[in-house]
């Protein structure tokens, strides 16, 4: 599903000096995988995720998503890719203020060219365990609830790929664990997930871990899933939609 070849990202400081954030990244991520990208602060995780999410383009190298080289797409074409094929979850939740939970979930549908399906948005909220909170304004929700709304929003256009940048970074560990369990369930239902974290504990939820150090992939290893977490959700329903 994802193929990166010799991807380089070099930022330009104000004074013109180059800042190499990604030096030479080559990797593949298959459909249905749950991968974490782990590394210390400033190692280039977000830079990599922004490229994967078509928010940014590599300075050089190729990024193929589902076989298409999207690294040379125009801004408008990348918008369309984001609308239909990628869901985002952020550390800071980034829900729209003065907007209800269900309205937040609907936002991506505004930009996918189709109809806004309120029923689907409500079903997604139910899927993340917030059926009762649909018409609450986001300021009335806890951090964990807000992140669940954000996950439902990321799924609104039924994208095959979900990208998450430190999704538990603003949550205490118990709430963070529940979010990770939700993501694990979604992955088991077929969603491809790439998750960025600096936290080993969070990374341990995924089957595969990419370690990034100074803009270079330092290791790429499979790891056993945490068995205790999956027993309860074995054979869970498909992701809504």
């Amino acid at each position: 599903m994802i193929e990166l070849e010799h991807v380089v990202k070099t930022y330009q400081r104000e004074d013109g000096t180059p800042v190499p954030a990604l030096r030479d990244i080559t990797c593949r991520i298959g459909a249905g995988e749950f991968v974490t990208i782990r590394g210390s602060s400033g190692s280039g995780k977000s830079s990599l995720l922004n490229i994967l999410g078509c928010l940014d383009t590599p300075t050089s190298g190729a990024y193929r998503l589902g076989g298409e080289d999207v690294s040379r797409y125009t801004d408008q074409e990348r918008s369309a890719v984001r609308a239909r094929r990628i869901g985002f979850v952020f550390q800071a939740f980034n829900l729209l203020p003065r907007t209800t939970a269900v309205e937040n979930v609907e936002v991506p549908a505004l930009y996918s060219g189709g109809d806004v399906d309120r029923g689907k948005a409500l079903a997604l909220l139910k899927r993340v365990g917030l059926a009762e909170r649909s018409n609450h304004f986001v300021t009335e929700l806890s951090g964990g609830e807000q992140q669940r709304v954000a996950i439902a929003r990321a799924l609104m256009n039924s994208p095959p790929l979900l990208l998450a940048d430190e999704p538990t970074g603003n949550l205490d560990s118990a709430v963070g664990d529940s979010i990770m369990e939700l993501l694990t369930d979604l992955n088991r239902e077929g969603l491809t997930i790439v998750l960025v974290t600096h936290d080993e504990r969070v990374a341990s939820y995924a089957a595969r871990e990419l370690l990034i150090r100074d803009g270079v992939l330092a290791s790429d290893r499979a790891q056993p899933r945490r068995p205790s977490l999956h027993a309860a959700t074995e054979g869970a329903a498909h992701v809504v939609g």
């Binding site: 928010l55 801004d75 918008s79 609308a83 239909r84 980034n94 729209l96 505004l110």
Partner: protein, 407 residues
């Protein structure tokens, strides 16, 4: 994103940010309200001036000739004018100038005391030709006007204005009653239809008309005129008529330029145009002020939008991340600006109508509303929103989502 959905989203955003929306709306509404009010007051003033002017001078097909140079000011009175304008001048104009329909000879005097039995009043006296009332378009409510026979026979008859009637004959029929002027008795034979107020608000109904022959020979004992009024067949050719009258009177009075004329030929159309010009300038100033107010409304929209854009950077980032194009964001902000401005325009029109009504009431004008222009005002408000919303919307469209979403 479809237009309908963009509009719905804009409405929701405006509704959920009531304070900001209110200020944006008021910014535009104040400008549009002043525009509507100024335009209405200006138009009401213009129409009222025109009405008053018409009331004062009658119809616009007339030329008036008065003694003295153009520098002479004020209404000509027998006691103040040079004795240069003669009855024979009027006869010559009638006989020799083409395009002349009627000529009236007039002698006027102001502040004359008149008595009817035990009552006394002060009025202006007009000795006139029989044509005078037709030229002016005046008529009587009761009795009859001054006839050619009255002029012929030097009849001691009077036609009085409504103010004078009220003063001298408050509860009786004035027809057939006697009015004494300097001990000369006159019989009232008619009362004029009230004309109302002239420019400046003074009444035009305090006057007494009599045959000019009677005035000249039996009352004032003067053989010169204070005014000759000429009515034209074809008002469109008044310039030629003015030139012909001027040439004729110069010849008769033995005046060769550069010697100054001892008479003044004027026509109400020119005077009217002058009045209107002053009026138009005034309206233009008022409208100019209102346009500035409207532009200030635009600046209010722009500043509040710019603040909103920086406050909403994160929202913009989210929308871009989930698939909004730059064009989507641009359109969203533009539609918000246009929508709130249009609403501001509607509120402004309502406020303006209210303001103009109050102003008209205070000025004792009848309010004039240019409904077409009000539709235009709402359109203008929308345009202002679009124009002044463009820069903030452009800025919103170019927010870098990566920067905006950074935790």
């Amino acid at each position: 994103m479809s237009w309908a959905r963009t509009l719905a989203l804009a409405l929701r955003t405006l509704r959920r940010n009531p304070l900001r929306s209110l200020f944006m709306l008021l910014g535009v509404a104040v400008g549009i309200a002043s525009l509507v009010a100024m335009a209405s007051v200006g138009e009401a003033t213009r129409q009222e001036t025109m009405r008053q002017f018409k009331r004062m001078v009658g119809t616009f097909d007339r030329i008036s000739i008065q003694p003295g140079s153009a520098r002479t000011r004020g209404m000509p009175s027998l006691t103040s004018v040079e004795p240069t304008l003669r009855f024979e001048d009027a006869d010559a104009i009638r006989a020799e100038v083409p395009n002349v329909r009627r000529v009236s000879r007039e002698q006027s005097a102001f502040d004359i005391d008149v008595q009817a039995r035990d009552k006394t009043a002060t009025t202006s006296i007009w000795g006139i030709s029989a044509e005078w009332m037709e030229i002016r378009g005046d008529d009587v409510t009761v009795g009859r006007g001054i006839s050619p026979e009255d002029v012929e026979t030097l009849a001691r008859v009077a036609v009085i204005g409504e103010d004078l009637r009220k003063e001298l004959f408050p509860d009786e029929d004035p027809i057939g009653k006697t009015i004494r002027i300097a001990e000369v008795p006159f019989t009232v034979q008619g009362v004029l239809v009230p004309r109302g107020a002239g420019p400046g608000g003074s009444s035009l109904d305090n006057l007494l008309l009599m045959p000019v022959s009677t005035a000249s020979k039996r009352l004032f004992n003067r053989d010169y005129l204070t005014t000759i009024t000429v009515q034209l067949e074809d008002p469109a050719r008044y310039e030629q008529a003015v030139a012909a009258i001027t040439a004729l009177l110069r010849e008769r009075h033995g005046i060769v330029p550069p010697v100054e004329d001892n008479f003044t030929v004027s026509n109400p159309r020119a005077a009217m145009e002058q009045v209107q010009e002053v009026d138009t300038t005034l309206s233009a100033v008022l409208v100019g002020i209102a346009v500035i107010a409207t532009l200030i409304g635009g600046v209010v929209i722009m500043s509040l939008m710019l603040i909103a854009v920086s406050e909403r950077r994160r929202e913009i980032g989210v929308r871009r991340a989930v698939g909004a194009t730059r064009a989507d964001v641009l359109r969203q902000f533009l539609v918000e600006a246009a929508l709130i401005s249009a609403l501001g325009g509607i509120v402004g029109v309502l406020l303006g109508v209210a303001g103009a009504t109050v102003a008209a009431f205070q000025q004792q004008l009848s309010p004039v509303f240019l409904w077409g222009a009000m539709g235009g005002a709402v359109g203008l408000a929308t345009l202002i929103g679009l124009v002044f919303g463009l820069q903030p919307a452009w800025r919103a469209a170019n927010v870098d989502p990566i920067q905006a979403l950074r935790a």
